[in-house]
């Protein structure tokens, strides 16, 4: 079987199995079994699939994933996250599109403590969306910022998907986590500017309303009391990692412990909240890890069948300029992002993309950040962006799904703009890790 026949067979069968509604991990596992029979030497290959499955997740570089998710889950289940949002709501006054601005600012800070994009969007959506709609905000003005800032969560550490990208692509995990900070904050600022300009130009989109007057400590106190510890936890994770006190796994575990301690100090931790947070963490983390169990062997089968080498050699042989190959990769990621989840996206594309990254000698951190922004856009692009579904689940039934799609489009456009900016100025991605990690 030639490499392209193998490629067509493997991806064709994978697509069919995913389309019939088989969970993504099982679709990969089914292909693995067939692939092992063909390319791994029959029955012995099936035993090898089992061995590979265990080996794929017996990996220390994956252990930050549950810890980063636990940080957000603890804040969510103890109610501390709600207090944080309320603190911003009190502090931010007199700004056009105030509640949308609160969404972006609170979302950015919450991103710095939560490793799960879905949790951030669900939290902001359930708390701020009803308030904005009640105050007469246009649904697009209300929903867009929530989904957009949920996506930025992926760039701002801690981020479970960044850890996974680093682990699967062989890019420094601490480097990649730190590299996401500047682009993430820059995107949040871009969203803020857009909201304020829109609110000034079209006041009917976000009508100003009289809110309770708060001054002095009543205005700034909650921000100091509730938000400072979260910023300190973020700093602890980043400093522990960049100063070499702890590995990314240990920094993540310390972050989780610090979050639990903060919740104890605020007297918001109960056994039930802790157990719920652990259960939520286990579900999200194992969901990701089970796809890896399925898909790691898939990458090996792609390699054994000659599909990976064939495809990579074809691209290299075409002697295309680097920018054309990179542009092609970005287009593939953006299209995939409309249909498949982020973990599958990585597992399908990285076996082909990483040899090309090495071939063109691109900076892996720069490439990693571009890849992350593409995945972030995949969370937002219709019809299957995960955050669109999250928003659907928290938005009132009266808001049509098309309205949710329309709400997110300006932010998708800004995301595309961010890709262009990072392409043109790689320093946006590489400067901070260069300074902190002395690369």
């Amino acid at each position: 079987m030639s490499w392209w026949q193998a490629l067509l067979l493997l991806f064709g069968a994978l697509t069919v199995l995913m389309m019939v509604g088989l969970p993504v991990a099982f679709a990969f596992l089914a292909i693995n079994l067939a692939g092992a029979l063909i390319w791994f030497g029959g029955e012995a290959g099936l035993v090898q699939v089992v061995r590979n499955s265990v080996a794929s997740v017996t990996n220390f570089s994956l252990t930050p994933i549950p810890f980063f998710i636990l940080m957000g889950e603890v804040l969510f289940h103890t109610g501390l996250a709600m207090k944080t949002i309320d603190s911003f709501d009190r502090a931010i006054r007199g700004v056009p599109g105030r509640l949308a601005v609160v969404t972006i600012v609170a979302g950015t800070v919450f991103s710095a403590i939560s490793g799960s994009t879905v949790a951030t969007t669900a939290l902001l959506g359930s708390l701020l969306l009803p308030q904005m709609l009640k105050r007469g905000y246009h649904p697009r003005m209300a929903m867009g910022p929530i989904m957009a800032i949920g996506g930025v969560d992926m760039l701002i550490p801690p981020s479970a998907l960044t850890v996974l990208l680093g682990s699967l692509a062989g890019i420094s995990i601490s480097g990649l986590l730190i590299a996401g900070v500047v682009p993430g904050i820059a995107m949040a600022l871009m969203f803020l500017a857009y909201i304020v300009v829109q609110a000034v130009r079209h006041p009917q989109l976000a009508p100003a309303f009289d809110s309770e007057e708060v001054h002095g400590w009543a205005r700034w106190g909650p921000l100091l009391v509730n938000v400072t510890p979260l910023v300190l936890i973020f700093a602890l994770v980043i400093v522990a990692m960049s100063a070499g006190w702890a590995t990314p796994t240990e920094s993540a575990a310390l972050g989780a412990l610090a979050t639990v301690i903060v919740c104890v100090l605020y007297r918001s931790l109960t056994w039930k909240a802790l157990l719920d947070a652990l259960a939520g963490t286990t579900a999200i983390a194992c969901l990701i890890l089970f796809i890896i169990v399925g898909a790691t062997t898939f990458s090996q089968i792609l390699s054994f069948s000659g599909a990976t080498n064939g495809m990579v050699a074809l691209v290299q042989g075409a002697a295309l300029p680097g920018w054309a190959v990179l542009g092609g990769m970005i287009v593939i990621l953006l299209i995939l992002g409309c249909f498949v989840d982020q973990v599958s996206m990585m597992l399908i594309t990285l076996p082909f993309f990483m040899p090309l990254v090495q071939h063109f000698a691109w900076d892996p951190l720069w490439y990693g950040v571009i890849y992350l922004i593409c995945m972030q856009l995949g969370l937002l692009t219709p019809p299957f962006g995960m955050l669109l579904f999250t928003m659907r689940s928290v938005a009132p039934k009266s808001i049509p799904t098309q309205e949710i799609y329309a709400a997110v489009m300006p932010y998708v456009t800004m995301g595309l703009g961010a890709i262009v900016v990072v392409l043109a100025w790689p320093g946006i991605a590489t400067w901070l890790p260069g300074v902190l990690l002395k690369r």
Partner: protein
Amino acid sequence: MSRLHALLMRLADGIAIATIGAITVLVCWDVIARNLGRGNLPWILELTEYALPLATLMAAPWLMWRGQHVRLDVLEMVLSERARARLERVAAAAGLAVSAVLCWYGVVALLDSKRSGAVMLKALVFPEWWLYAPVPIGFALLVLECGRRLLAPSTPAEASP
């Protein structure tokens, strides 16, 4: 029968939750002890690695029971109720077949390893087959869950979390 099924699913998830909880505590303790100059325990790092496949394989049946595994619902959106139920059964049958094969070869891998006397020789020393034990257990539970879905696609677990 359905109570026993639910109990098995919850038990497996309970093991996964306890595993994640335990590694969180152990890694924190290790890093704090090391930075306080109390030395470190190299086996913690290793144990954390081994914990991930255990947690993953124990949580997988529970996630299936709750309908939480990531899946594309491209066709579901356009199909009629009846066609959708049929497609769910096809997916459940495929899931059952995949899980049954992996359960069987999980046992084969485990017995192969036991027969060969292979031993994990790092900070912790133990028979290699211990690592493979969660595979047949996890996939056997997935066989049960996929079988249940094949017989009755509507899942009470999804409706009542």
